[in-house]
Amino acid sequence: MSEKPLLDIKNLRVTFPTRQGEFEAVRGVSFTLGRERLGIVGESGSGKSMTGRAILRLIRPPGRVEADRLELEGIDLLSLDEKAMQKIRGQRISMVMQDPKFSLNPVMNIGDQIMEIYRFHTGASKKAAYEKATEMLEAVSIRDPERVMRAYPHEMSGGMGQRIMIAMMLVTEPEILIADEPTSALDVSVQTQVLSIIDRLVRERGMGLIFISHDLNLVSAFCDRILIMYAGRIVEVCEAARLNEATHPYTRGLLGSLPRLDEPRKRLSVLQRDADWRETESVSGRQ
C-alpha cells in the first residue's frame, strides 16, 4: 500500500498482574490499518479484544499497554493525556464492544443516548438529532425505531442491543471503526444489512475497519485482509479471500472444526494445540 496508514502499530503488548504473576494477553503484535477492512480472528482468549481496547487505551489498570509505536496518522496515542484521548474516542476512532448491553447506559433511553453522542460531536439541533437517530436505527434493520427510541437497554433482544451499539458508533462517522464481534448474535438476513452499511462507509468514505470475529466464513467473505491470532501473537496474515488456502496448522484446525449443513458428522473435530505455536515469533501485519 502506497498511502500512509491510518493506524501504525509496532510491538504492542498488554500485560495484567494476576495471582499467578504477570499475564501477557497481547505479546508484541505489529500491524498497520489502511482504508481497508482488516479482520482479526483467533480462538477465545487469544487477545483480540485486548488488542482493540489497547488502541483506544481502554485497558483498565492495573493492566498496562506498551508499544514501540502506536500512531493514528502520525499522532502518538500513548503520549496523549486522557482529555485528548477522549476526543479521539468516538470522534476519530469508534469501538463497538463485544458486550453491547454492558456498554449502554441502563438508566437512559436509547434515543437519548444516540442523540447525545450525535449532538456532542456535531452540535446538531435536537430535532435533527432525533431524525438522524431514527434513521440510523432503521438502517440497522430495527423494525420499530420509534418504540426503540423510547425503550431502555434491558428491553432489547441480544441482537437489537448489538445493532443499537453499531448505530451509535456510526452516527458520528468516525475515521476508524473497531468492531468486536459486532454481528455474533444476528441472523443472516439482518447481518447482511448491517454489514452492508459498514461496507459502504469503508468504500465511500474511506473509513478503516478492524473487524474482530470468530466467524471464519464471514471474515473471509467480508474483509480484505486477515490477521490470525494465537496466544497473544499473530501467527499468520493472509488475504481474506484466500483464507481457505491458509497454511498454519492452527488456522487449518480452526477451519476444520466448523459444523457444516451439507456434511453431517457425529462429532466435531477439535483443535490439537502444539506448544510450539505459542513460542514462535509474531508475524508482522504491517504493509
Binding site: 477465545s44 482468549g45 441482537g159 448474535a185 467473505a221 467480508f222 449443513l261
Partner: protein
C-alpha cells in the same frame, strides 16, 4: 412423553403505543431426551420463550408444562434443579464481584451438593477451563471464557432440561466444537432434553432433531433435521436462512 410442552403461548410487554407482542400463539413439543432448536430473526421472540418458561416474564397466556406438570406464575427451587438456562449475554448473567469459584460454589451449595471442591474442578475441566481460572472475576475473562463459566454454572445442579440461548455465539469455532461435543455427550449420558436458540443453522442441524423458525413473534415453520439438510422449506425466510448457511456466497454481497 413430551418433556416440554407449549400450547398457544402468548407473551407481551408494555402497553399502549409501547406494547410489544413478543410471542404469538407458539405451540410446540419437545420429547424427553430430544434436542429442539429455535432459530429466526433477531428480535423475533426466541429468548422470550425461554425466559417465560423459567418465570422471568410475568405477562403471558396459554399453557406451558415441564415433565407433564403445568406451570403457573411462580417457579420453585425444585424447578431449577430440573431446568437450567444458559443466558444469551454472558456479560450480564455473571455477577461482577463474584469469582468463578464463588459462582459455581454457591450454585452447588444451593442445590445441596457435597464434595464441592472436586465438583468445581470437574465442571471447569468439562468446559475446557484450566484450574487457573477458578479464582478469576468476570472482568478478567474474555467473552468466550465467561460463556463457558455460564455453561458450567447451568450444568452444576445436574438438571434434566437445559435451555440454551445462543450458547456458542460468543465462542470461537474450536471452543464451539468442544462445547457442542460436551453438550452432545452430556445429553447421551444423562438423557438430557435441550431447547436451544441459535442463529447458526449449521449448529442447530448438528445438535437438534427438529427446529422451529420464528419471525416477528410467530413460528412460521417447523423443520426436521432432514428437511434442513435437504433444504426443504416452504417459507421464503427459512429458505433464505438455509441458503446462506449452506455456503456463503460472497458475490451476492460484495461488489468491491
Amino acid at each position: 412423553m413430551s418433556e416440554l410442552h407449549f400450547k398457544d403461548l402468548n407473551v407481551w410487554f408494555g402497553e399502549g403505543a409501547d406494547r410489544v407482542d413478543a410471542v404469538k400463539h407458539a405451540t410446540f413439543d419437545v420429547p424427553s431426551g430430544a434436542s429442539f432448536g429455535l432459530v429466526g430473526e433477531s428480535g423475533s421472540g426466541k429468548s422470550t420463550i425461554l425466559r417465560a418458561l423459567v418465570g422471568l416474564v410475568p405477562t403471558w397466556s396459554g399453557k406451558m408444562s415441564v415433565g407433564g406438570k403445568q406451570l403457573g406464575p411462580k417457579r420453585t427451587r425444585e424447578f431449577f434443579k430440573e431446568v437450567q438456562m444458559v443466558f444469551q449475554d454472558p456479560y450480564a448473567s455473571l455477577h461482577p464481584r463474584h469469582s468463578v469459584d464463588q459462582v459455581l460454589g454457591e450454585t452447588l451449595k444451593l442445590h445441596g451438593f457435597r464434595g464441592i471442591d472436586k465438583r468445581i474442578e470437574k465442571l471447569l475441566a468439562d468446559v475446557g477451563l484450566g484450574p487457573a481460572f477458578r479464582f478469576r472475576y468476570p472482568h478478567q475473562l474474555s467473552g468466550g471464557q465467561r460463556q463457558r463459566v455460564a455453561i458450567a454454572r447451568a450444568l452444576a445442579p445436574e438438571p434434566t432440561v437445559l435451555l440454551l440461548d445462543e450458547p456458542t455465539s460468543a465462542l470461537d469455532v474450536s471452543v464451539q466444537a468442544e462445547v457442542l461435543n460436551l453438550l452432545a455427550d452430556l445429553r447421551e449420558e444423562h438423557k438430557l432434553t435441550y431447547l436451544m436458540v441459535s442463529h447458526d443453522l449449521a449448529v442447530v442441524a448438528h445438535m437438534c432433531e427438529a427446529t422451529a423458525v420464528m419471525q416477528n413473534g410467530e413460528i412460521v415453520e417447523m423443520l426436521s433435521v432432514e428437511d434442513m439438510r435437504a433444504m426443504r422449506a416452504k417459507n421464503p425466510y427459512t429458505q433464505h436462512l438455509l441458503e446462506s448457511a449452506s455456503g456463503y456466497n460472497p458475490s451476492a454481497e460484495q461488489s468491491a
